[in-house]
């Protein structure tokens, strides 16, 4: 995949694969192009060259809403709730359209998901009144409500307390156990290290490392570029 914004080349010949039921971590300095990769996968923006293949199906040229229905769910780094709808209705949208559920099944699924994400008591509150952190939770809940096969998580652990981060990791592990494939962009290392099966590190749109979390973190280049540890 490649993508340029004008003269700025954001990702360049980037290729990677994620196995079914895997938690795949994506790390990289700010501006490395991680969010852009998500936008390319979810179809929010179109790639200049390259292809996204989900379950053997080529997604190139397929608009975002169809990709969602085919099982790609995502969260936004900067939350984008439907501010005038209630939290519950926010979920209902993706359960209905991305998850293609109807009626009682959708209600049940959304109510469960809200509880799982710790928003159970805010179900009927307008999403616009949520705090930043709750909005981030809502991002996750809404993506989950769409019953995705592939879940793209963009920095959802930032700002969580240790305890909350642990809960989150547990939740993600549970999702994986249900067979959901997860790609997770995260700067909160202890959280992602706790659950990722494999990781990739981007820098200036290029992959500088990929592999098991521990191995990646030991990589000198990664330590220098990303952690700022000269060794």
């Amino acid at each position: 995949m490649s993508k340029s914004f004008g003269a700025l080349r954001v990702t360049q010949d980037l290729s990677f694969e994620v196995g079914r039921g895997e938690v795949f971590g994506v790390l990289g300095p700010n501006g490395a192009g991680k969010t852009t990769v998500f936008n390319l996968i979810s179809g929010d923006i179109a790639a200049d060259v390259g292809a996204v293949v989900l379950d053997g199906q080529d997604m190139t040229g397929i608009p975002a809403f169809k990709r969602a229905a085919k099982g790609i769910g995502r969260t936004y780094q900067i939350p984008r709730p439907y501010t005038q709808m209630s939290t519950f209705e926010n979920l209902l949208v993706s359960a209905t359209f991305a998850g293609q559920m109807r009626g009682q099944a959708a209600y049940d699924h959304c109510a469960t998901t809200l509880d799982e994400c710790g928003l159970g008591d805010k179900a009927n509150r307008p999403a616009g009144s949520l705090t930043l952190l709750d909005r981030k939770r809502l991002e996750l809940a809404r993506a989950m409500a769409g019953k995705p096969k592939l879940l793209l998580l963009d920095e959802i652990a930032g700002g969580l307390t240790d305890g909350e981060a642990k809960d989150l990791v547990t939740l993600i592990a549970r999702l994986r156990d249900r067979g959901v494939t997860i790609i997770w962009i995260e700067h909160v290392l202890h959280a992602i290290m706790a659950v990722a099966d494999r990781m990739m590190v981007l820098s200036f749109g290029e992959k500088i490392a990929e592999g098991k979390p521990d191995a990646v973190m030991r990589d000198a280049e990664v330590r220098r570029v990303y952690m700022g540890i000269e060794a």
Partner: protein, 332 residues
């Protein structure tokens, strides 16, 4: 209920059951008016019905679709002209021509949307206005429809006053069922969810599986058809149409006033707003400029003090919705 996650979702309330029941009865009562009401009241019902329909369509477009238009007069004029052309030039029966008149607005709305779809917010608004002006200017240059001097619906004279009233009231009842009832059903359906979601954030909605492009298009088209139908009925009652009366920007002013004062983004708003506007104009219209100054200031006060409109104020006092479209999770 052993399943702890069996969710209970409420949509209707007792107020809504009463309101919808009453509303249906009222609408169904309209066609019976020729048998008991005075001609004057029938005419009121027809005009009021058209205002409600036009405002409700604007509300669907602006309040739910997020597409603020100041050019809905385009479709009022097209609906009206379609009727006059069908009747006068093609000799179609007027009452039969009314439902056929929505074809023209639909045919124009489709390409118009293609042009406007890339615009949002104020861009879209101005775009619709220009489009309406373009239609007005083109119409006033077409000789076959009498160009600038407009057309007259002489064919109505072949019906008796009573027959005309029966026809018109039937059409208005149908119009209200389609526009108010139709919008309500649309909003309660899964499409309603999509519509509200994309109004709040179109990008997020499309990544959640909502086909934003098609939804917007459908809403634009539906609003055009509903507005066109109302336009045809309105001008059938007025008997005359001209480019300046059909494509009068004042229609947008009326929509804005009714919906904003009534309450935007709620189905109840346009109904309350239309009632207020209609009776205020009839009661105080003869006070000329003083009345209009007050009307203007009222709009200003609503914009500042009560952005949710009269319906917003009413719900704050008594939260009794007539047309609930939301989902309230009571147990989950």
């Amino acid at each position: 209920m052993t399943d702890p996650h069996f969710a209970t979702v409420h949509r209707h309330t007792s107020s809504s059951r009463i309101a919808i029941g009453c509303g249906l009865l009222l609408v169904l009562a309209i066609p019976s008016m020729p048998f008991w009401a005075s001609s004057g009241h029938i005419r009121w019902a027809v005009e009021l019905g058209c205002f409600i329909a036009i405002a409700q369509m604007w509300n669907l477009l602006a309040g739910y679709g997020g597409m603020v238009s100041v050019g809905q007069q385009a479709f009022i004029g097209l609906g009206g002209y379609a009727l006059f052309v069908l009747v006068t030039l093609f000799g179609v029966d007027p009452f039969l021509a009314v439902p056929l008149s929505v074809i023209l607005p639909a045919l124009v709305a489709a390409p118009a949307y293609m042009l406007l779809r890339r615009l949002d917010g104020p861009y879209f608004a101005i775009g619709t206005w220009v489009l309406a002006e373009v239609l007005r200017l083109i119409t006033s240059n077409i000789g076959a429809v009498n160009a600038g001097s407009g057309m007259t619906l002489k064919a109505m004279a072949k019906y008796s006053a009573h027959q005309r009233e029966i026809g018109l009231t039937l059409l208005v009842a149908l119009l209200l069922l389609l526009t108010v009832g139709g919008t309500y059903l649309l909003l309660r359906s899964r499409l309603g969810l999509a519509l509200t979601a994309m109004r709040d954030d179109a990008v997020a909605a499309s990544s959640q599986g909502v086909n934003v492009g098609r939804m917007r298009f459908s809403v634009y088209l539906l609003a055009a058809v509903g507005t066109g139908l109302a336009g045809a009925i309105y001008f059938m009652a007025q008997l005359r149409i001209s480019p300046t009366s059909g494509f009068d920007p004042n229609w947008s002013s009326i929509c804005i006033f009714i919906v904003m004062v009534g309450g935007i983004g709620r189905l109840e708003g346009p109904i309350i707003g239309a009632l207020l506007y209609f009776f205020a104009t009839r009661l105080f219209g003869q006070y000329g400029s003083a009345y209009l100054v007050v009307l203007g200031l009222l709009t200003l006060v609503v914009a500042i003090r009560a952005p949710t409109g009269l319906w917003g104020l009413m719900t704050r006092l008594r939260p009794w919705p007539w047309f609930p479209t939301g989902y309230i999770l009571t147990k989950g």
